[in-house]
């Protein structure tokens, strides 16, 4: 019941390859063909030189934990059944960081900034796959 109330992303034309990539279990990050800059979230221009000449770079399904928090208070009914849960900022490429959830985390005490995390492709809806992460095995 509560799950239906969750806010879902808008898969806009400018970000559609990213969302389609996740459905195909690939992580695609925009990269500027003119200056080589990589950035996130996807948009129609490079965040360094504003060039519209962009490409999609597939990156490995792993990241490093940059910061994290455990949310204990459900401010939105869509998440009421999930507290406590982890929101994190992870570094997917050197200098490129994204918001995500850390899932399959047996103990929050294990979370350490800098630790390795691996991608989890979570098909939250038929047409929506979210990129989440879990502590890396081993």
């Amino acid at each position: 019941m509560a799950a239906a109330l969750k806010l879902m992303p808008i898969q806009s034309p400018e970000s559609m390859p990213y969302w389609e990539g996740l459905r195909a279990r690939k992580i695609l990050i925009p990269e500027c063909k003119d200056c080589g800059h990589t950035f996130f979230y996807p948009r129609t221009q490079c965040t360094k030189c504003l060039s519209p000449n962009l490409d999609w770079k597939e990156v490995p399904p792993k990241a490093k934990l940059w910061s994290w928090t455990v949310v204990h208070q459900a401010f939105h009914e869509g998440w009421a059944d999930e507290v406590p849960f982890v929101i994190a900022l992870v570094e997917i490429l050197p200098g490129v960081r994204m918001m995500t959830n850390i899932v399959d985390c047996a103990s929050f005490d294990k979370l350490k900034i800098g630790m390795d995390v691996e991608a989890v492709f979570d098909d939250v809806r038929e047409t929506v796959t979210l990129l989440k992460f879990r502590p890396a095995a081993g």
Binding site: I10, Y41, V71, F75, E82, M98, M99
Partner: protein
Amino acid sequence: MPELPAIVGAYEHPLRKAPDYTPLRFIGESAAAAIADAGLTPADVDGLAFVGEPMGVNYISEYLNLHPRWYDGTAIGGSSYLSHIMHASDAIKAGKARVVLIAYGSTSRSMATALGSTPRPQIEDPAMVSNMDSFDTPYGTILAATYALVAQRHMHEFGTTHEQLAEIAVAARAHASINPLARFRDPITVADVIASRPIAAPLHMLDCCVITDGGGAIVVASPEVARNCRHKPVRILGGSEAGAHGQGGHRRLLDVAANQSGPAAFAATGLKTSDVDLCMIYDSFTITVLTTLEGLGFCKPGEGGAFVQNGRIRLGGELPVNIDGGALSNTHPGRRGLFLAIESTHQLRGNAGVRQVKDAKIALCHGTGGYLSGRHSGVTLLLGAD
């Protein structure tokens, strides 16, 4: 001190819960009281600033039956009101207005809309369609969490402790205890903060601002008008705005807007941190104050945790911060910016009563608007007594 535009009227509405009020009533009562505090009349007002959510200034102009020749609808979150004061000063210097009214009112508490603490606006709403929100909202990113991410990173990089953060809440409550208007007045300890229930680790409930109803207003006037007002003028010395945001994923989290607006405000006014007698810093959360003090240059990056200890930021300390009790204990109807300037005005007039900072000549206000780990504005404003 040169003759600069000044704050001549200030009023903080005393109510903290008012189920029978509308935001407009708070705005109207506050506006009338601030104009009276200045010794002016509504007919003197020729400039109006209001957070310009769709056409907001138009509505307030109509409600108060004003006929301004200058408007400012800057809407950059809770810091907006400090921008309004700065913009009003510039407009007065340019001859575009003589008396500017800035007003605010909200019934966040009675409406049970903890403004800012819910997830971002429904991104399905076409009016709010934003590609950028699609990359954090679906993860359940509440406002407190975005501040918690900064706190966690600060602890990691610099060894800042929960106890150090908690002192900011304890100091605010100590100040609130001598402010009869404050929502919460019972003193608390560092242990109380740590023991309060977790909201978004490492932030506990007492690390988070209160939710109140409330309102307030400020009147800014030209030097000529200020000479004949009821109270001694509080000069608008200058300031700066800045923004911080995700930088295409390249932001480090501790690079808050104050890092830019603080030094720029000091450069614009020729003042230095040692000139400041008191600070009013938007304390949405304890971590906001810590990172702001560092950004403004009162201590080095990473030293904020140690800086706030030993009574330094309490009344009687080296740098009293949030002497009214702050958003953490006095009032936070959703946007705090105007209250920073109202308390500063009382302090610089020397009429703050039992919470008066001795010999207060220079006050620094800093507002943060938005999400500390995401996009937010920072506005630093310096005010001075003649």
